[in-house]
Point group: D2
Chain length 292, copies 4
């Protein structure tokens, strides 16, 4: 089995790389903060000293970075991907970034002869750990086929969506809907509570109806307890809302509900909740102080 490179070992990246190791892939990993690599090395991973070193060693390399800035740095900086990418090598960026960032990376990689796909995922920590992500790939179709064995381990389903940019866009659309839903859910939980209804009964009722969904089931009980351990940090959700709204702006799509949801996430950030789970937007709906 070929060696796979893996750049970026945050919450998501670590779970994904671990999954590849568990399924017998040989993986060379790199992370800016080196200590994040330790647990993976214990499970058999090799360390690459720079992104370039990983690229040099592997036929294709997966990246999972926290935001557009990080995704660009890893490619363009000294010791970055570009220094070693070349014909016959593939680069798969699974970070959630905007279409423009993805295009920049794509152009840089392909101009060096490398092949590129963007492949952002739907799903956060738990699905990453369980290999249950949904993978939204776009770009070089041959590289997509080459990476399918890895995608089959990382996700329950992968889609090939055509030209570079489409994966990022699909991801943004899904996350935008999710962000609006989370706000609707938070508003409902607080409204129930303030109206003298049991939020727990609301969860039970919701779970039986037409809008029952895994997110409500998974997040609801902890939200009722004001517990927001970060599976998907709020500041990243807000970034996705912003990027989705920007995409809507380019295409003259009015999205008043997403816009309202985005402002609530911004309110949450202004309250210092950006590093908690995105369900912490719940706090913006609650009373600031005693109600009058």
């Amino acid at each position: 089995m070929e060696e796979i490179g893996f750049l970026g070992l945050g919450i998501m990246g670590k779970a994904m790389a671990m999954n590849l190791l568990r399924h017998g892939f040989k993986v060379t990993v790199w992370n800016r903060t080196l200590s994040r690599c330790d647990e993976l090395v214990e499970h058999g991973a090799t360390i690459g000293e720079t992104p370039a070193a990983v690229i040099k060693k592997c036929k294709y390399t997966i990246a999972m970075l926290s935001d557009p800035t990080a995704a660009l740095s890893v490619v363009f900086e000294q010791g970055g991907v570009l220094e070693q990418i070349s014909s016959g090598k593939g680069y798969i960026d699974m970070s959630t970034v905007d279409a423009e960032t993805s295009s920049k990376i794509s152009e840089a990689i392909t101009s060096k002869g490398g092949s590129f796909i963007e492949a952002p995922v739907s799903g956060s920590k738990k699905p990453a750990e369980d290999g249950q992500l949904v993978i939204l790939a776009a770009g070089d179709e041959a590289l997509y086929e080459e990476a399918l064995p890895a995608f089959d381990v990382l996700g329950k389903k992968s889609f090939f969506l055509g030209q570079v940019g489409n994966g990022a866009k699909m991801k943004l659309v899904v996350n935008m809907i999710m962000g609006s839903m989370m706000n609707a859910f938070s508003e409902g939980l607080v409204l129930a509570d303030k109206s003298g209804l049991s939020p727990q009964t609301l969860l039970d009722v919701l779970d039986l109806g037409a809008i029952a969904n895994p997110m409500f089931k998974m997040k609801g009980p902890s939200m009722v307890n004001s517990s927001y351990s970060p599976a998907f940090p709020l500041k990243h959700q807000q970034k996705d809302m912003r990027l989705a709204l920007a995409l809507g702006d380019e295409n003259s799509v009015p999205m008043p509900v997403a816009a309202a949801a985005n402002e609530a996430f911004k309110k949450a950030r202004s309250m210092g909740l950006g590093d908690l789970d995105f369900s912490a937007v719940h706090e913006t709906v609650k009373s600031g102080k005693s109600s009058s």
Copy 2:
């Protein structure tokens, strides 16, 4: 088996009464437009000439009316429920109404010695036909227990929520979340389409993720085809959003996403879409004319 009364044979009421008949209940029905009774009579129902006549004949009577005005009329008008309700008789209002309307009806019924529960449902035409509603009952607990055999036929689950008003409130909370979600979904479908993505693929991706839910699955394909056959009319959804927002207003709960969704439903009403399915809010997100 006792005779059950049934008042109101709209989309929902007809499906529910039919279900009772199919499961062997004896049912006496009334509807303002008499011709709506025909199909039920073919399946064994008896006709009552007025709400009062139905009440007189039956130990308990279920009502399923389109809005607060209709729910009040049936009780208070000449030939209405109040003329015959008395000790030992029960009245079960399954319409979706505001808490104030429900309270008025409750007070009137109980002041005549009757027992009352409100029991609004979660679910629209299809679940009504399939006996898969979720029933949110509140009021007289003895009447609730008496009606359980009927509730077991009409719904997959019933909750007893305490004092009168709580059923109405729970229903509003659920429908508010649903209305916001429908807007988020519509915005996502249009954003995908305008951004060069396949709305059908979006439906597939959504169905695999953390926010997969029956409503998206059921409504999505017809929305993609701009088809909005009314299971739950938009004007009724907007009414529920309005009532939920009013409940939030009473309790100082800020609900910016629900408020934005409500305005979109109002926009849809101003476009003449009030009698279509509530998924027709999708049309408010699309371009009015050619985009510039």
Copy 3:
């Protein structure tokens, strides 16, 4: 000069009654909390023991009450207006109430033979003190003409708007625009501050441009200092937003900006700011804690 009755001596009512006294009108006043009458008595007012007593004594009576509940109580309660209103007597309700409340009062007064106008005002404490209100009268045109000398003292301009309800509606439309503007202003002040600009310079720039207006000029400096001494209490502004939105709902007018502004006022209420000036909505835009 005829005796004028005056019911309700809150912030607004007191300033208005005082103005009438200063301009030589004989005024009989009533207030639920009697001590509020003292200052007026010092300036020559007579006290009526009940609303009915005031009505009995005066050819026409002006009421300025805090909300629909208070406006209804004064008319319908024991010792209320209805007990003494009769043919030849006029009742002028200058409170800001919804159209429905105004109609109820109108019907009650006219069914007793009295004449009625609603005459809500535009303007808060300062314009009330200075006799610079704008008066939005509707109802009995003869009573309007009779009251013109008083209106000329209380306001800088009065409009006769036709049938009862139109005054209330016009007031709501104006206050809705005002409430949205106050939110826009608050957002701008915080955005300037957080972006490294001087809020005071923003006030100077605004005051020179196309959107310069007395409200920004009057409220801006105190808002910059987080000072919200109540000229127009936030909870009353929020009530007006709610009533305006309800009017829009009846008429299928989508008002997404007013809806967003209303939610911000509700957020402010949930933070315990309901009794401060409506400019305190400014606090909802600021950071909850340290920003992240």
Copy 4:
């Protein structure tokens, strides 16, 4: 008197350059579509063949371009500003652009030894014609002082706001407030009309109250007649809303009212109204078809 350069003769630029000519300045103009220069030549202007040619000839040059793209092109393209800018020459960009664009231009100009100020204006066509703009300058203070005689002709007041970027930001804050107010105003006009009130009377009432402002007075009558001759094109207003929201996003400032207003402007663009005056957002509030 020194020769002043002027780049960009759109609605605003033409009025401004004409003003300079009328007040005795010698002006060399350039516009991408050359025919726009004719009227200015008749009034004494000289034509420069390229931006570079204008820069070469003049001690300082003013630019007034339609958007960030145009502002960047004029500087960086072949025959652009950079080819001739040098120590001792000044460049004053009065276009409304985002802070990032302004910074790019500033860096390019100053790296060539030139001095730079950004100086966006508050005010549209009419104030431009009347020399009544408000000028928001930031950057090189010496150049600001040198340009003061021109600013005194173009505007009624100029502010020096410190470092480059602050002019752009101040402009965005003002335009954001203006855009939200225009939406509030539109909602009010439609609400009045649909509620049976005269929109013209609403304009009269507004003009007497605390929120009276020149924009309502100037735009109101034409909006009532659904006339939207472009003084400030809607697509440019929407661009400013977008940029202001982006600035708020960077600084964690929740701006729910501005966000709702922005979506309404986007809706207007999706209806093909982008080239009309920004007051055409009024059309988004009206009924799409007959109301139901």
